[in-house]
């Protein structure tokens, strides 16, 4: 007898011969048995629950409904799964179930924010007559709609303006300034993706005087901010400078990644084994990603220093017998910026 039930079920299911249990988060507890042991056997060996059978309905079922359906079938003694088929089912249904659920959520969200949805929700006449009970539901949906569209707007601002502010309440009962905290959120893009935003939290320990930041969650040391009391505090300037630093940092890090790629040092290890490039390693040498350390196959090692904006400041290569200026000349080839070096490496 098959196999898959939510873990709320207890003794009654064990009667049916349950071996595996589906947890609410979609993972499957095999009770320390292998996947092959999931299924018990029934008298008949005819699986009626084909993978093609119910895929469309799973998309709208949530986990529990699906499980209930399986149980229903099992109870009516029609469900009969072979060992191999059970494996198939787990792989075809339950593993993608999470992503399907996410898809449902996404679709629902898209539907919710659509303009036509709003029209339907706000129109008084339709639905009101047809079903008397839907008024409360409609109100709830409308509230959800408003929430959703607010979120949509926020996302739009975040994506386009890249510096956004928000209010936080410090849960500490003794917090400074009644727990009012201003949050700055910096959206940074790296490798065509938004990275986790950087946040700076500001509070006002001294009325009328200045902000201090209790939170500073960025890795590169930030800008020459206006922290000094004698200087006038200028929040927007601070935010701009900090954002600039962050973007520069990510650009520098990306530059190093590009150079690595151009030198034929892919990220994949399989590639690394067979490569026979002259340079064997390129990596950032410091936290601010301003220095690049290079390692040649023949034991030479080099260091390239760039400034904040990616201009080359200096490069030194140390060979077996002291400094190797020739390599430096070859490597740089009159380049001013690190990108030029990458291009040269790429063309070789």
């Amino acid at each position: 007898m098959a196999a898959i039930f939510p873990d709320r079920e207890t003794a009654s299911d064990i009667v049916y011969g349950i071996d595996a249990i589906v947890k609410r988060d979609g993972t499957i507890d095999l009770r320390q048995r292998s996947l092959d042991a999931v299924v018990g056997h029934n008298d008949e060996h005819k699986p009626i629950y084909r993978p093609s059978y119910d895929l469309s309905s799973i998309a709208v079922y949530d986990n529990l409904n699906f499980i209930n359906r399986v149980r229903e079938l099992a109870c009516s003694n029609r469900l009969n799964l072979e060992q191999k088929f059970a494996k198939d089912m787990i792989l075809t249904y339950l593993v993608p179930l999470e992503s399907l659920k996410n898809d449902v959520k996404l679709q629902a969200t898209t539907l919710m924010t659509a303009d036509s949805t709003r029209q339907i929700l706000q129109s008084k006449t339709t639905g009101h007559q047809r079903s008397g009970t839907s008024e409360a539901v409609k109100q709830r949906l409308l509230a959800q709609f408003q929430e959703q569209s607010a979120h949509k707007q926020q996302c739009l601002y975040r994506a386009c303006a890249t510096i956004t502010t928000f209010k936080v309440n410090d849960p500490d009962p003794n917090a400074v300034d009644g727990g009012n905290v201003l949050g700055l959120r910096f959206e940074i893009m790296s490798k065509a993706k938004f990275v986790r935003p950087y946040y700076v939290m500001l509070n006002r320990p001294y009325a009328n005087r200045r902000y201090a930041w209790p939170l500073n969650t960025c890795l590169p040391p930030p800008a020459k901010g206006d922290e000094d009391p004698p200087k006038k505090q200028d929040l927007s300037r601070f935010a701009r400078t900090l954002r600039r630093e962050l973007v520069r940092y990510h650009n520098r890090a990306a530059l190093i990644g590009d150079m690595k790629k151009a030198a034929g040092l892919g990220s994949k290890k399989a590639l690394g084994q067979e490569l026979d490039t002259a340079i064997v390693d390129i990596s950032a040498a410091d936290a601010e990603a301003k220095q690049i350390s290079m390692q040649w196959r023949d034991g030479r090692s080099g260091r390239l220093i760039m400034n904040d904006d990616g201009d080359i400041v200096k490069m030194v290569v140390q060979g077996d017998n002291g400094r190797d200026r020739e390599t430096v000349r070859q490597f740089l080839g009159g380049a001013v910026r690190v990108e030029d070096v990458t291009k040269r490496l790429d063309s070789h």
Binding site: A212, T217, K224
Partner: protein, 567 residues
């Protein structure tokens, strides 16, 4: 061959310097390792790259030759490295005692002595096997202001001021650092340095081992010299208390220095001075011309390096402890959920439980009778359930994803000194104002508690006294009051403000010290909140560990000196 000359020198101890295996401390260092780690250590020693530093004793002649030199030995030396390697690999698969391995090392293959490098490796191995054996103290590296002009230096102006505007993390180069550090060490002590990078931790570990000797040759470590006093001295000098570990986390302006835990009054004092020496030397070794640094102690003391790294290492977690950690999630999932391109509404915390409850309702449909029956039966249980969920929500709000009992980032001790005035009920305040003079006369500020002060106390109190004169919050309060022209009854309010301040200043401040112990203090507090023993909403912020210190003075419910606390 003439013995090498031993001349007093300022050089450091070479790694290849051998220590006589009969030395008690060597036996101690080796025997505290477990058999498997001992064997893997030996195999490391036998690695071809380590042969210059820890060569085993091998026979020079071929096996066919007639030889009698090692005939009576229990552990006759091997003919080649590979043979020896095989032998120890065999021992790995075989069962046996640790004693056997130690004896083989000391009386067999390394009978001519273990090098300092080998000892360092053994010591580090023990540290990795037992990560909780050392207590680490955290120091912040701060840059000092560069004097503008020579005259400034002469006049002692702006000489030792900390430069607050720069957030420069000094570049750390191991060999340069060692060279500079050696220059700071006194000539009558010799130190052996060993760098290592522990697996899985983003830091560089420096082991400093100090011997009192002006020589850097065998003489420094030989216990077999004739005089008894010298022997005694050498034995003490090999004590573990003479070893200091310094950890340099990657890309962080902090360093961690180990505190040895050996007891005994004499060694304690010795260790302390040694530590002080090292702590003094480190900033000087980091400094360069026109770029000077100093170390400032951060009141963070823990045995757990992971906790230390998450609080003071690089990355996002170092300024976002406690509930703020929700902003510092660094995983790929976090990036996706927090991306501005994600149209899904953020799910509120513990919403899984909401789902759970729904599920419950659905699944209970079948046996609805029993369920409703149960609910009708126990309204208290339902109420309890509700409260428990609320407590969990509050805990989530205060701690975020931090302070979970199994996250391996537990600090084992938190000391807090509460400097807040004893809270007086509002009705009593009026009375108190009336007889304030009398009160004042009777109760001077109990600043100086009687009896023995602990080290924590003393340093914190000192700081507190220093800061007390210019309490910025009070100053700003004064400014506000003075700058408020629209206030009609200004004098009265000011007077009351004065009163209030006086009261605050002169109020009874009991000397309350709080020590929280446990394997994971903040997770424990979290559990207490979840269980309903602590009211999570009224709990002060320092109990969540968001200040990132394990020692602190609390004023107005906030840890002094914490960023943004205004104190």
């Amino acid at each position: 061959m003439a013995p090498p000359l031993s001349l007093p020198t300022t050089a450091r101890l070479p790694s290849s310097l051998r220590v006589n295996p009969s030395n008690n401390s060597i036996i101690k260092i080796l025997t505290r390792l477990s058999r498997p780690s001992l064997l893997s250590l030996v195999l490391d020693w036998l690695d071809a790259s380590n042969q210059s530093l820890c060569p085993p004793l091998l026979r020079e002649n071929s096996p066919h030759e007639e030889e009698d030199e090692f005939e009576s030995d229990i552990y006759p030396p091997a003919y080649s490295l590979s043979e020896l390697r095989e032998l120890y690999t065999d021992m790995q698969t075989r069962k046996g005692s640790r004693r056997e391995v130690v004896d083989r090392i000391l009386e067999g293959d390394w009978r001519h002595g273990l090098s300092l490098y080998q000892l360092a490796m053994a010591d580090l191995q023990y540290l990795y096997d037992h990560p909780g054996t050392l207590k680490w103290a955290c120091y912040k590296i701060q840059r000092l202001q560069t004097p503008e002009h020579e005259d400034d230096v002469d006049a002692d102006r702006s000489y030792d001021k900390i430069d607050k505007t720069t957030m420069h993390v000094p570049r750390f180069h191991p060999s340069t650092f060692l060279q500079n550090l050696q220059a700071e060490v006194l000539p009558d002590v010799k130190a052996h340095y060993n760098f290592d990078r522990p697996k899985g931790l983003p830091l560089l570990l420096l082991r400093i081992f100090v011997i009192d000797s002006p020589y850097n040759t065998d003489l420094a470590v030989s216990a077999a010299s004739g005089s008894a006093s010298l022997t005694a001295r050498t034995v003490t000098s090999f004590d573990t208390s003479r070893t200091i570990y310094v950890a340099f986390p990657d890309a962080s302006p902090h360093i961690f220095v180990s505190k040895s835990q050996s007891a005994g009054s004499t060694t304690y004092a010795e260790t302390r001075s040694l530590r002080a020496l090292v702590v003094e030397g480190i900033p000087k070794a980091l400094s360069r011309p026109r770029e000077r640094y100093t170390l400032k102690t951060v009141n963070l003391l823990t045995k757990n390096l992971d906790a230390m790294l998450s609080l003071r290492g690089s990355g996002r977690s170092n300024a976002a402890a406690g509930g703020w950690s929700v902003y510092a999630g660094d995983k790929a999932v976090d990036a996706r959920t927090h991306s501005p391109l994600n149209p899904l509404l953020p799910t509120p915390p513990l919403s899984d439980d909401a789902v759970e409850e729904d599920d419950e309702r659905v699944t209970d449909l079948g046996n609805r009778e029993t369920a409703t029956h149960k609910r009708a039966m126990d309204p208290e249980i339902a109420e309890e359930e509700k409260q428990r969920k609320r407590a969990r929500l509050v805990a989530q709000a205060r701690f975020g994803d931090n302070a979970k009992i199994d996250d391996g980032k537990g600090v084992e001790r938190v000391d807090v000194l509460i400097e807040d005035a004893f809270s007086v009920p509002a009705a009593d305040i009026e009375d108190e104002i009336d007889d304030q003079d009398a009160e004042e006369a009777r109760q001077p500020r109990p600043r100086k508690p009687k009896g023995r002060r602990s080290g924590v106390d003393a340093s914190l109190l000192q700081e507190a006294e220093k800061d007390d004169a210019d309490d910025p919050e009070q100053q700003s309060r004064d400014q506000n009051q003075e700058a408020d022209p629209s206030d009609e009854n200004l004098p009265q309010r000011q007077a009351r403000g004065e009163d209030g301040r006086d009261r605050e200043k002169w109020a009874w401040r009991p000397n309350v010290r709080l020590s929280l112990h446990g394997p994971h203090v903040f997770a424990g507090i979290r559990q207490l909140i979840e269980a309903g023993f602590i009211d999570g909403e009224r709990m002060p912020g320092w109990m969540t560990g968001e200040d990132g210190v394990t020692m602190g003075a609390v004023r107005n419910g906030r840890i002094r000196g914490f960023r943004g606390s205004g104190l």
